[in-house]
């Protein structure tokens, strides 16, 4: 089976400004793909190219094996999209807009639509002009979730939602995942990405810097260890695989360990008679900050 989304060495230039330098990733069928990166990294630009709104400067981008630029209409029949900034026709009501969006995809307002309206707690009789940002986003979300599509593209869909609605959003995404749909989710809410995504792509300044599953990324990173032992911990601090060693007392400390060395460090620790031990795998946030800082440092040294 072909990839749902395949992006290969994609670049995009706006005049003199190179917004995308090299974006490469694929989304497999039935997969939730998390797309993260700092502000201005080029996530929305990549998504707009996928939607055929912007023309790529070079490189390949296909959805369902079709070109995103020339076959946009055919592709759009099989996708649903929610942007981060939703603007709606001010003098239509939310209900009218949901129905219109469904009709434009060749679909109908169903019982499922009503259920979603209720779940997202949306007053559909109001004119869009009077909606708050979150409510405008709900309109787009209800329309997207009640569309029967093969690929769902979300670009920061929850930036205006309250925590309760954020939870509803996550449930709905997990339901789509259970139904075997493919999803591209760009988000700054890392817990959301961590909970739902099978694989993650991190981009920075228009370049893919890491693509893979969270588990495989964790392998490249460090776990945090909080430990108390009977015997002094001084020897541990000198190990090559141990970093950021902070001693609270002679026998109590917090430090990080390279993931591949966790086993050997554990052996050493047990020889020191562990009283208490807490090990936390790196969160996506740690990963993200690490990638971000690493690149930042590289930049800084270049500038010297």
């Amino acid at each position: 089976m072909t990839e749902v989304v395949a992006i290969d060495h994609l670049t995009k230039r706006f005049g003199k400004f190179q917004a995308l330098k090299n974006i490469t990733f694929t989304i497999h069928p039935g997969e939730v793909f998390g797309f993260i990166g700092p502000n201005g990294a080029g996530k929305s630009t990549t998504i707009r190219i996928l939607l055929g709104n912007l023309k790529a400067t070079s490189g390949q981008a296909t959805i369902f094996g079709q070109s995103v630029w020339t076959d946009a209409v055919a592709i759009h029949k099989r996708i649903a999209y929610v942007p981060g900034d939703v603007d709606l026709w001010p003098n239509l009501t939310g209900g009218e807009i949901i129905d219109l969006l469904l009709k434009l995809s060749g679909q109908k307002h169903t019982a499922r639509t009503d259920e979603l309206i209720k779940k997202f707690d949306l007053d559909v009789a109001k004119k869009a002009r009077t909606y708050s940002k979150g409510n405008r986003q709900k309109v787009a979300l209800v329309a997207a979730f009640s569309t029967d599509a093969e690929l769902y593209i979300f670009d920061e869909p929850t930036s205006g939602l309250d925590p309760l609605m954020e939870e509803v959003f996550q449930q709905e995404v997990l339901a789509l995942k259970a139904a075997g749909k493919s999803i591209l989710l760009s988000s700054h809410i890392l817990s959301e990405v961590e909970r739902m995504c099978d694989r993650i792509g991190i981009i920075r300044q228009g370049e893919s810097i890491e693509v893979g599953s969270l588990a495989s990324m964790r392998k490249l990173s460090r776990s945090t260890i909080h430990v108390q032992t009977k015997q002094p911990l001084t020897a541990i601090a000198t190990l090559a695989a141990v970093h950021q060693f902070k001693a609270e007392s002679n026998t109590k400390a917090e430090f990080t360990v390279d993931s591949e060395a966790v086993g050997s460090v554990m052996d050493q620790l047990s020889s020191l008679e562990i009283v208490q031990l807490q090990s936390t795998p790196p969160t996506l946030e740690d990963l993200f900050l690490r990638y971000y800082n690493k690149e930042g440092e590289a930049d800084a040294t270049q500038h010297v």
Binding site: L54, I79, Y81, W89, I98, L100, R129
Partner: protein
């Protein structure tokens, strides 16, 4: 009112002037240039008493009175006198248009783009944006008035006095300011910039049509039309200054009401609150075309009704226009009954030709607005959701252009129909609707060509698309005023409206119709092609 409501008005004013300077320069250059150029030419065209007597007879006919205002001067005429009566209403109209645009742009449009909210958060007084807009209007109009007066001084028309020149310039300034402050008021009433624009133009249309009627029937009543105040200054004869004071009072009143209303409404909202609507879309709302029709429903209806009204109000004076014997009793004796009827008929048809130019230009406005709204809506992000649907970009653009063309054409027909219907009521001679409709067939390709140019700009140079407005504005100036101010023939042919022959007096020239239609279609197609292959506009 606490002092802080107007805090930082100065800063905002500077920002606005910096933002609008190009627009202001273009408008003022156009207005001042037109006045000065016409003034410089007038000495040459209307120099002798004989020439002036001839044009005075023309200006006294109801047809010209309806277009340019009453001609009340007594002989001996001077060039300046003729100039004053020909230019006053016309310049007033354009000055008002400039003010409407600046006023709405400085208030509602800024508010819609979110700029106002950003600024209010930065310790700017709540009413400061409104006050800054008012000051901007005062500055622009003041500057315009002074430049116009200086231009007239420099032109040294025979019969022109300094008092008359300054009255003309400053009178226009006060007049513009008054309508500008009315627009600020409308900006508080409406809930969108489009709505405010529609209210402003609706009001302008209403008072303009009212003044047309009263000028032809009974000029004393013109006082009630507000627009007519500009005719009452008796330029270059008595030079009456107090209509100017009246206008300034009107400006103050409008501004005060705007401030009072603004204090009572929320940012981004109007005083006319939106009501709740349907929970489900009707079966009608199903695709891009029906969406356009639904979103633009009110404005489309207003345009169509407005043009029927405009046509009808001109048609209603056909009875008077087409009664040469009444204006010139000698004529009745010289010519026989049949010859008089034929002459009357010729006069009405000639006027219908002049009117067709106005109608087609006015009908161009909604058509071009629809075409330009494609990029504007795109930039606002209104189309983001739609563009992810299985609708080609070509189809989306074609829908906008097509809808614009249909509305424009329908508005044009509506105006001619209104004119014909009201004309037939008021005339004793009969001219059929079909005869009047020659104007439609004749001028329609010009509408198409201008729409094609608009699409071309929207597709190729989206940032410059507003430049298309030069075409209709120049078209109406050159064809309406060109013959009076002695523009050369080639200058009349610079806009597509000038390529059409004198319908409905003459028969439709099918050759011209054919090549102009083909040109329009080609321009549209190239514009669509360019639109299809470029990036969408996004922020």
């Amino acid at each position: 009112m606490p002092h802080s409501t107007f805090k930082r008005t100065g800063t905002l004013l500077k920002l606005e002037l910096r933002h609008d300077w190009l627009k202001i320069v273009l408008w003022l250059t156009g207005l001042v240039g037109l006045m000065a150029a016409a003034a410089a030419k007038f000495g040459g065209i209307y120099g002798t008493q004989k020439e002036m007597a001839t044009i005075a007879t023309t200006l006294k006919t109801p047809a010209m009175v309806s277009l340019l205002g009453p001609f009340t001067a007594k002989p001996p005429y001077t060039t300046a006198l003729i100039y004053g009566s020909e230019m006053m209403v016309f310049m007033g109209l354009f000055t008002v248009m400039m003010n409407i645009h600046l006023a709405i742009h400085a208030t509602r449009s800024q508010e819609e783009s979110g700029l106002t909210e950003l600024m209010l958060a930065r310790s700017v007084g709540r009413q400061a944006p409104l006050l800054a807009a008012m000051l901007e209007l005062v500055i622009v109009n003041g500057l315009g008035g002074v430049l116009e007066a200086l231009g007239l001084q420099a032109a040294q028309m025979p019969g022109a006095t300094a008092a008359g020149n300054w009255l003309f310039g400053l009178g226009l300034a006060a007049f513009g300011l008054m309508f500008g402050s009315f627009s600020l008021l409308f900006a508080q009433l409406a809930s969108t910039s489009r709505g405010a624009l529609m209210l402003s133009y609706g009001f302008l249309g209403l008072v303009f049509i009212a003044r047309m009627g009263t000028d032809v029937q009974n000029p004393d009543l013109t006082w009630w039309t507000i627009f007519g105040w500009i005719e009452k200054m008796e330029l270059y004869t008595n030079n009456t200054w107090w209509p100017v004071l009246l206008m300034l009072a009107g400006a103050l009143l409008g501004g005060a009401c705007a401030v009072a209303l603004a204090a009572r409404r929320d940012l981004g909202a109007g005083l006319i609150a939106p009501k709740p609507g349907r929970k489900r879309a009707s079966a009608f709302l199903r695709g891009p075309l029906s969406l356009l029709a639904r979103v633009n429903r009110t404005s489309t209806i207003v345009w169509l009704l407005g043009l029927v009204l405009l046509g009808a109000s001109y048609g209603s004076i056909f009875g008077t226009v087409g009664d040469l014997v009444k204006t010139n009793p000698v004529l009745g004796k010289l010519l026989g009954g049949a010859a008089v009827a034929a002459a009357n008929r010729a006069v009405v048809l000639a006027m219908a030709n002049k009117l067709a130019v106005i109608f087609v230009v006015v009908a161009t406005i909604p058509a071009v607005m629809m075409i330009l709204s494609l990029n504007r809506d795109e930039q606002k992000g209104l189309l983001t959701l739609m563009q992810a649907k299985p609708i080609g970009r070509l189809r989306l653009a074609l829908t906008s252009a097509g809808y614009g063309l249909v509305v424009g054409s329908a508005a044009f027909i509506a105006a001619i129909w209104g004119m014909a219907a009201a004309g037939q009521q008021s005339m004793t001679i009969t001219i059929t609707l079909a005869r009047f409709m020659r104007s439609f067939v004749g001028y329609w390709p010009a509408l198409l060509v201008v729409c094609g140019l608009a699409m071309l700009l929207a597709g190729l140079l989206p940032k410059w698309q507003s430049a298309i407005w030069i075409v209709p504005v120049y078209g109406v100036v050159s064809l309406y005023m060109g013959p009076l101010i002695g523009l050369p023939k080639w200058a009349l042919k610079l806009s597509p409206y000038g390529w059409v022959n004198k319908v409905p007096v003459a028969a439709v020239n099918w050759g011209t119709f054919g090549w102009m239609t083909a040109l329009g279609v080609v321009l549209l197609a190239v514009g669509l092609w360019a639109y299809r292959r470029r990036d969408l506009l996004m922020n």
